[in-house]
Symmetry: C2
Subunit: 175 residues, 2 copies
DNA sequence: TAGCCTAGAGAACGAACGTTCTCCAAGGCA
DNA sequence: TGCCTTGGAGAACGTTCGTTCTCTAGGCTA
């Protein structure tokens, strides 16, 4: 097992634990145990917890956006919110990892969080252009509001959040 | 200065510090200093940090909703989002205290957070009824998505969040 | 005035946690 | 076989933090 394998196992454990229970609630020792890696190797791969957190967020950003992009393909808001419905109903769903991390750590995690939201905004803008929206930037802003709003609302237990948001997205196209 | 005054000063300091920097980032000792109160009295008023956090959230809930309710009065979504615009532009704005607390502490703060969102939902439902919405529950769900979505989006620096959300709210009425 | 109660200041305690260090076993190489 | 390097397990260290304890000063009552 080489260095890359170790990093993958560490990041897998980090994503599972950090997302499920919060970053500050998970210690390096518990993470080490979950990853099945020695503390020495953990610190060789990621010299501090802050760097591990940044790596966790960046990898989650890539995977999350890639999954969404693949699912939506050339589709529109229907596919966008269908993907959200499926995400919200996964067993370990606990809201947006980036918003949670921001609430928890504030400025210390800002760069990965802002990067993530900018990339999501760019994806939504592409969708807006395909839709023929007259003002794609505004439309992307609005879709971002709907996606984030539905996500935090679903996190707190309102199960029809994605459906309600979809109706707003469709209404705006007609309006 | 009696007991109630002390509690007020403690809660004032707690709200300022917890909201600005996060709950876990503020220790009881710093809070004691900011409130100008002895540690003994602090623990007489609030026997543990968890109880102080709950009291902070509950008092913020009351004040926040009361301010919104007063501003909106018998108005509709225009007034609702006008209030948000003003809130977002306050200097110390840092998103929704309840969503941030949830991201930070997860289940440990769930009851006050859920209470707050339920009360906000109820206020939005009243507004939906006044508007003559055909399905006030759905409309309240949607307004909650727009309010929370605009709030987290504004927190991350998109300054026109409230305006973009308002347009969606108006579009749905027309659609 | 003498004794007692209160309250404040901050030292102290115990736990948790990020990070580093020590010890030892195992394996490659002369 | 004997030596040297590598890596794992976990002890140890220093700090932070929530919470409690101690000591002392001041004011009220008899």
């Amino acid at each position: 097992m080489d260095q890359a394998d170790h990093e993958t196992r560490i990041l897998d454990a980090a994503e599972r634990l950090f997302y499920a229970r919060g970053i500050q609630a998970v210690g390096m020792d518990e993470l080490r145990t979950a990853a099945g890696v020695s503390l020495k190797r953990l610190y060789q791969s990621f010299p501090s917890k802050d760097e591990l957190v940044a790596a966790y967020l960046d990898r989650r950003d890539e995977r999350w956006l890639s999954s969404l992009r693949t699912f939506v393909g050339d589709g529109g808001v229907i596919e966008l919110f269908a993907w959200l419905v499926q995400w919200f109903s996964t067993e370990d769903f606990r809201g947006c990892a980036f918003l949670n991390a921001f609430g928890e750590l504030g400025g210390r995690v800002s760069p990965p969080v802002l990067r993530h939201k900018d990339r999501l905004h760019a994806l939504l803008r592409e969708l807006a252009v395909r839709e023929g929206a007259p003002d794609p930037d505004l439309r992307a802003d609005q879709l971002l509001i709907l996606v984030d709003g539905a996500t935090v609302t679903a996190m707190l237990g309102r199960t029809n959040a994605a459906g309600a948001a979809l109706r707003l997205a469709l209404a705006d196209v007609r309006g």
